[in-house]
C-alpha cells in the first residue's frame, strides 16, 4: 500500500496531480488530428438525412416518398410505414418495459421538428436534397405550445421533489419583511459546436457506432437493447467529443434510425443531424417559471422560503428541470417549502443541460435574495453572510467541506466589493450605467464506481485504459497525471486510451461525477501496478534489488530505487528488462467487495442506478461558488455588456488548475449567454422553435466576454473522492445569470425576472 501525500493544488507546473499540465490531447486537437465521430474513414459508406415534422401535434396520414426515391443516388426512404424491428431500451436507471416495440419514426406527432422519415443516398448532397422531396400529409390536432398556453394547465405536482421543514407559510406570513416574485427562464439549447450524428457499421450481429458519447457503456447498452443483441456485440467509439454539456449522454431516435438503416441496407451509414435539426433532435433545457416568497426579520435574518416552481416537459416523457434544486441548500432558513410541477407540452423531451435544476433554481433564489437585500436596505454580500448555512438544513447533516464563506469573502475582496454604493443607478462610467451583482452557486457531489486498466510496458511507458470519455473537461490529462503521480513517472511518459465501450467500465461524464470516479479507479489500479512492480523488483530472481535487503522501494522521476539508501537505481525500462517482463497489467474498479460481479458491473457502468447522491453517507457534499459581476448598461439602447467577472470556487482539491480554470470560465460564459442572449423563440401558432440556427439563437462571441478571474478557495475533500476533488464542470454556470440580473438592477433600477435580459426589456 502506498500512501500519497496530498499536495496543495495550484502551485505546480509539472505533471503530478495538482500541476498545471498542458492537455495531453493538445497536439491532436490543434493539428486537426483529433478524429470525431463523423470523420471515421469507413468504406462503402452511405448518408442518411432526417426529415422532421412541420406540425406540433397530430398524425402522419401519408408519406409520399416517390419523388425522393426517384432522385439520383437515393437508396431508401424510411417512414412510419417501416417496422424497423426495434425494442424500447432502458431508461437511465435501467428500467425497461418488456418487449415493447420502439418506433423511432412514429406515426403520432408530438412536437414540431420530430423525426418522421429518413432518406439514405450515396452522397450527402443527394440525401440532403432528396429529403426535401419527401411530402408528408398530416392530420393536425391543437398543440400545447408552452407554459403560457391556456391549455397547458398547472401541471402535475412531482411529490418526490417536494422539500419542506418547519411551517414556511406561517413563518412567511409572520415575517417583518416579505418579498414575492416570479422568475422565468426560456428554452435553452446546448449548441455544442460539433453537431450530433453518428457513423454505424454492422458486421453480422456486431455493431460498431462512432458517435459522440458522454457515456460509452450506457449508450452501448441502449443499442444492444434496441436491436435485442448481446451487450458485448455493440461497440461505441468516441475518443473525442465536440462539446456535450449534457446532450451526448444517450442514444436518440436518429441514432436508432441510422443503425436500423445500416442493418436493412447492409452498408455502413453516416447520419449528420443538421444544425437546425439539432434544436429538436434532442431536448435542451426546459422552460421554467417559479414563484419565490421570502420572509425575513428587519435585520436580515431569513425566516421562511416558500417556493413554487414548474417546468415544461414533453407529452412523451417526464424530465423535470427542478426549480427547487438549489433553494434548500444555500442559506440557513428555519422554515422552507418547495414544490415543483411538470407541465406536458408539445416539445421534444427536454434534457440535461449544464447544471440541470441547480441553474434555474439559483436564478430564482439568488435574484430573490438580492431583492430582499434592497427591501431591507442591506448590502447583498452581508445578507448572504448573515444567513450562512452552517450545516445542510435539508438533510440535517454536516457539510463535508463548504468554503462558500471563503468564496464570498475572497471574491469580494478581489472584486473590490467594498467600493460599491448600494443605491441603484449610483455608479457610472461616462454615459454607461455601472452595476455590480453577486450570485452564488452549488452543485452536488455525485459518486459512482468506475474501472481502469494500467499497463506498465517494457519500455517503461505507462498506459491508462478506460471507457470513460473526454469531451474537453480534461479526462485524458488528469488521468495521465494521476497515474504519473502514483507510478512515479513523468506524465509525458503516460498514454491514455479512452472513449470506447469495449474498454473497462466507467460512469457517465455528467453531473460532474466522472473525474472523481475515474481518478479513483486509476489511482487504485495504478497503486496495484506499482505494488506489483515493487513486489517483482524485490522478489524476482533476476532483479538487482533482490539482495538489497530492502522491504520496499521508491519510484520517482521514472526511476526505482531503495529508499534513503545506497543501492541500485534503475529506470522502469531497465527494471522491466532485468526481470524479463514486457508488461505489467492491473485492472481495478471502485465497486465494494461483495458487490463486484457481472451484474454489478452492468448496473454500474451502463445505468445510473448505483450513483450515490450528496447525502448518501453521513455528510452533505457539494461544490460551491460565488460570482461577482460588473455590467455596463447603455440605458438609451438597453444593451448590457459584462465588463468584469471575479468568481471564487470551492470544488475541493483541483487536479489540474489550468484545465479547471478553463472549465469554470466556460460555465461562466455559458451563464453570460443564458443571462443576456439565449432563448428559444417559439411560434405559438405552430409550436416551433424558429430561431433554430446559430445566427438567430445567439451564444456569446469572443467580443462579448471580458477577462474572467477565477479563484480556487477549495480544500481537499476526501469524503467526496479518493483524491479530494469535488465536481468542477457544472457549478461554474450556477449563479451567473442571477449575478448579472442583480448587476443590471444595481445599474438601472430595473429588475428583470425573465431571462434573457434583452435590450427591449430595458428601454
Amino acid at each position: 500500500m502506498t500512501i500519497m501525500e496530498t499536495r496543495k493544488h495550484g502551485d505546480a507546473a509539472d505533471g503530478m496531480v495538482g500541476g498545471r499540465f498542458s492537455r495531453l490531447d493538445g497536439k491532436l486537437k490543434t493539428t486537426g488530428g483529433a478524429t470525431y465521430a463523423l470523420e471515421q474513414p469507413v468504406k462503402n459508406l452511405v448518408h442518411a438525412v432526417l426529415v422532421q415534422s412541420t406540425i406540433a401535434a397530430g398524425r402522419v396520414v401519408a408519406v409520399d416518398a416517390g419523388k425522393a426515391k426517384a432522385a439520383p443516388g437515393v437508396l431508401s426512404v424510411f417512414t412510419p410505414e417501416d417496422d424497423l424491428g426495434l425494442l424500447v431500451a432502458s431508461d437511465w436507471f435501467g428500467n425497461r418495459p418488456d418487449n415493447q416495440p420502439f418506433h423511432p419514426l412514429p406515426r403520432e406527432v408530438s412536437f414540431n421538428g420530430q423525426a418522421i422519415a429518413a432518406v439514405v443516398a450515396e452522397t450527402l448532397e443527394q440525401a440532403t436534397e432528396a429529403a426535401k422531396l419527401v411530402k408528408v400529409s398530416y392530420e393536425e390536432t391543437q398543440p400545447v405550445t408552452g407554459l403560457d398556453d391556456p391549455n397547458a394547465g398547472e401541471g402535475r405536482l412531482v411529490d418526490m421533489l417536494s422539500v419542506g421543514w418547519g411551517d414556511a407559510e406561517a413563518a412567511y406570513a409572520a415575517a417583518d419583511i416579505r418579498i414575492e416574485a416570479e422568475y422565468r427562464t426560456p428554452r435553452e439549447y446546448h449548441v455544442p459546436i460539433e453537431p450530433h450524428g453518428l457513423t454505424v457499421k454492422w458486421e453480422g450481429d456486431f455493431l460498431t457506432v462512432w458517435e459522440p458519447s458522454q457515456w460509452t457503456h450506457g449508450m452501448a447498452r441502449t443499442y444492444a437493447e434496441w436491436f435485442n443483441i448481446p451487450a458485448d456485440n455493440v461497440r461505441i467509439v468516441s475518443p473525442f467529443i465536440g462539446g456535450g454539456f449534457g446532450s451526448k449522454a444517450m442514444g436518440y431516435t436518429y441514432s436508432a434510425v441510422a443503425a436500423a438503416a445500416a442493418r436493412k441496407l447492409g452498408r455502413p451509414v453516416k447520419l449528420a443531424v443538421t444544425r437546425p435539426q439539432t434544436f429538436t433532435a434532442y431536448g435542451g433545457r426546459a422552460a421554467t417559471r417559479q414563484t419565490i416568497r421570502i420572509g425575513a426579520t428587519k435585520d436580515g435574518v431569513l425566516q421562511a422560503i416558500v417556493h413554487r416552481g414548474a417546468s415544461e416537459t414533453s407529452v412523451l416523457a417526464d424530465f423535470p428541470e427542478q426549480t427547487g434544486a438549489a433553494t434548500p441548500l444555500l442559506y440557513a432558513v428555519p422554515n422552507l417549502s418547495t414544490q415543483h410541477r411538470l407541465v406536458p407540452v408539445n416539445t421534444v423531451t427536454p434534457g440535461a443541460l449544464r447544471a440541470p435544476g441547480k441553474n434555474p433554481s439559483a436564478f430564482g433564489l439568488e435574484s430573490a435574495i438580492e431583492e430582499l437585500s434592497y427591501a431591507i436596505g442591506m448590502d447583498p454580500l452581508e445578507l448572504r453572510l448573515r444567513n450562512y448555512a452552517d450545516h445542510d438544513y435539508q438533510s440535517g447533516k454536516p457539510w463535508s467541506t463548504r468554503q462558500l464563506r471563503e468564496a464570498l469573502t475572497v471574491g469580494a475582496e478581489v472584486f473590490g466589493w467594498s467600493k460599491r454604493s448600494h443605491e441603484p443607478r449610483s455608479m457610472r462610467d461616462g454615459r454607461q450605467l455601472v452595476g455590480w451583482g453577486i450570485g452564488c452557486g452549488t452543485f452536488p457531489v455525485l459518486k459512482a464506481a468506475s474501472e481502469a486498466l494500467i499497463r506498465i510496458l517494457g519500455d517503461g511507458s505507462v498506459e491508462v485504459v478506460s471507457g470513460a470519455i473526454d469531451m474537453g473537461q480534461g479526462t485524458y490529462t488528469i488521468l495521465a497525471q494521476t497515474a504519473a503521480e502514483v507510478l512515479g513517472v513523468p506524465a509525458e511518459q503516460v498514454d491514455v486510451k479512452l472513449g470506447d465501450s469495449s474498454l473497462p467500465g466507467a460512469t457517465v461524464a455528467g453531473g460532474s461525477m466522472l473525474a472523481g470516479a475515474i481518478t479513483g479507479a486509476v489511482h487504485k489500479a495504478a497503486t496495484a501496478a506499482r505494488d506489483e512492480l515493487i513486489g517483482l523488483a524485490l522478489n524476482d530472481s533476476n532483479s538487482p534489488f533482490r539482495d538489497t535487503g530492502a522491504n520496499t522501494l521508491v519510484i520517482a522521476d521514472g526511476r526505482i530505487s531503495v529508499p534513503r539508501g545506497e543501492g541500485p537505481s534503475l529506470t522502469l525500462a531497465e527494471l522491466m528488462s532485468a526481470i524479463g517482463r514486457d508488461r505489467i497489467e492491473t485492472q481495478r474498479n471502485t465497486l465494494p467487495e461483495g458487490a463486484n460481479g457481472p451484474e454489478d458491473h452492468k448496473r454500474s457502468w451502463t445505468t445510473m442506478a448505483n450513483i450515490e447522491g450528496p447525502t448518501a453517507g453521513d455528510l452533505s457534499m457539494h461544490s460551491w461558488c460565488a460570482h461577482f459581476v460588473e455590467v455596463k448598461v447603455d440605458e438609451d439602447f438597453g444593451t448590457v455588456r459584462v465588463s468584469r467577472v471575479v468568481s471564487a470556487f470551492d470544488c475541493g482539491r483541483i487536479y489540474n488548475p489550468k484545465l479547471a480554470e478553463s472549465q469554470w470560465r466556460g460555465g461562466i460564459i455559458m451563464g453570460i449567454g443564458q443571462a443576456l442572449l439565449e432563448e428559444g423563440l417559439i411560434d405559438e401558432r405552430f409550436g416551433r422553435v424558429i430561431n433554430n440556427n446559430m445566427g438567430d439563437y445567439l451564444v456569446p462571441t469572443n467580443a462579448d466576454i471580458p477577462h474572467i478571474q477565477v479563484i480556487s478557495v477549495g480544500i481537499p475533500d476526501h469524503d467526496a473522492s479518493v483524491l479530494g476533488g469535488k465536481g468542477v464542470g457544472e457549478v461554474g454556470i450556477v449563479g451567473v445569470a442571477p449575478a448579472i440580473a442583480n448587476a443590471v438592477f444595481h445599474a438601472t433600477g430595473k429588475r428583470v425576472r425573465d431571462l434573457p435580459i434583452t435590450l427591449e426589456k430595458l428601454i
Binding site: 498542458s22 492537455r23 490531447d25 493538445g26 497536439k27 491532436l28 486537437k29 490543434t30 493539428t31 486537426g32 483529433a34 478524429t35 470525431y36 463523423l38 470523420e39 474513414p41 439520383p72 443516388g73 452522397t123 450527402l124 448532397e125 443527394q126 446546448h190 449548441v191 455544442p192 459546436i193 460539433e194 453537431p195 473525442f240 467529443i241 465536440g242 462539446g243 456535450g244 449528420a272 443538421t274 444544425r275 469531451m471 474537453g472 473537461q473 480534461g474 484545465l659 480554470e661 478553463s662 470560465r665 466556460g666 460555465g667 461562466i668 460564459i669 455559458m670 440556427n693 446559430m694 445566427g695 451564444v699 456569446p700 462571441t701 469572443n702 467580443a703 466576454i705 477577462h707 474572467i708
Partner: protein
C-alpha cells in the same frame, strides 16, 4: 442524373484530384472526399467559423465556398500550417500553452482564423483580437485563453523571437 466535374485543388501545397458534383462545398470536399477532416462542420450556414480555412492566404468559410470556385487558388487547412518537420506553428503552440480550447472542435477554425488575424494586423490589442476573432464561436468558452494565445503568438511574430516562426506568421 447527377453531373460531376473534375477538379484539381491545390491544398496545403499539394494537388488533389477529385470528381464531385458542382454543388459540393469546399468543406464537404475536404471532409468527405479528401479525408482532410481537420476542417470542422459546425453549422454549415456561415454562422460559427468552425470551417475556416485560407484561400490565397485569406481566411474564408469553406461551408459557403464551392469546391469548384477555388480551383486554381491556394487552399490552406489546419493540416497544412505546421512546419514540414512537424514543428507546430506558433499559434498552435500558443493554443496548447494557454489552454485555448476544451473539446477541440472549434479549434482548427480558431487557429486558422488566428493565423490570419495576426497576418492582417488585427491583433494589436485584446479588444481588437476579441472583435476580429468573433467570427469563431467557442461553446466551451475558451475565449480568454484564445485571446491570450493570439496575443502571445502575435507578439512573437512582431518581436521575431523565432525568425523561422516569424516567416510563417507574418
Amino acid at each position: 442524373m447527377t453531373r460531376t466535374i473534375h477538379l484539381s485543388l491545390d491544398i496545403n501545397g499539394k494537388q488533389h484530384e477529385l470528381d464531385v458534383e458542382p454543388r459540393v462545398t469546399l468543406l464537404d470536399a475536404l471532409r468527405e472526399s479528401l479525408a482532410l477532416t481537420g476542417t470542422k462542420k459546425g453549422c454549415d450556414q456561415g454562422q460559427c467559423g468552425a470551417c475556416t480555412c485560407h484561400v490565397d492566404g485569406k481566411r474564408v468559410l469553406s461551408c459557403l465556398t464551392l469546391a469548384a470556385q477555388v480551383e486554381g487558388r491556394q487552399i490552406t487547412t489546419i493540416e497544412g500550417i505546421a512546419a514540414e518537420g512537424g514543428d507546430l506553428h506558433p499559434v498552435q503552440a500558443a493554443f496548447i500553452e494557454n489552454d485555448a480550447f476544451q473539446c477541440g472542435y472549434c479549434t482548427p477554425g480558431q487557429i486558422m482564423s488566428a493565423v490570419a488575424c495576426i497576418r492582417e494586423g488585427h491583433a494589436g490589442s485584446e479588444e481588437e483580437i476579441r472583435e476580429y476573432m468573433s467570427g469563431n464561436l467557442c461553446r466551451c468558452g475558451a475565449y480568454n485563453s484564445i485571446v491570450a494565445a493570439v496575443r502571445e503568438a502575435a507578439e512573437m511574430a512582431a518581436t521575431g523571437v523565432a525568425a523561422k516562426d516569424k516567416a510563417e506568421v507574418a
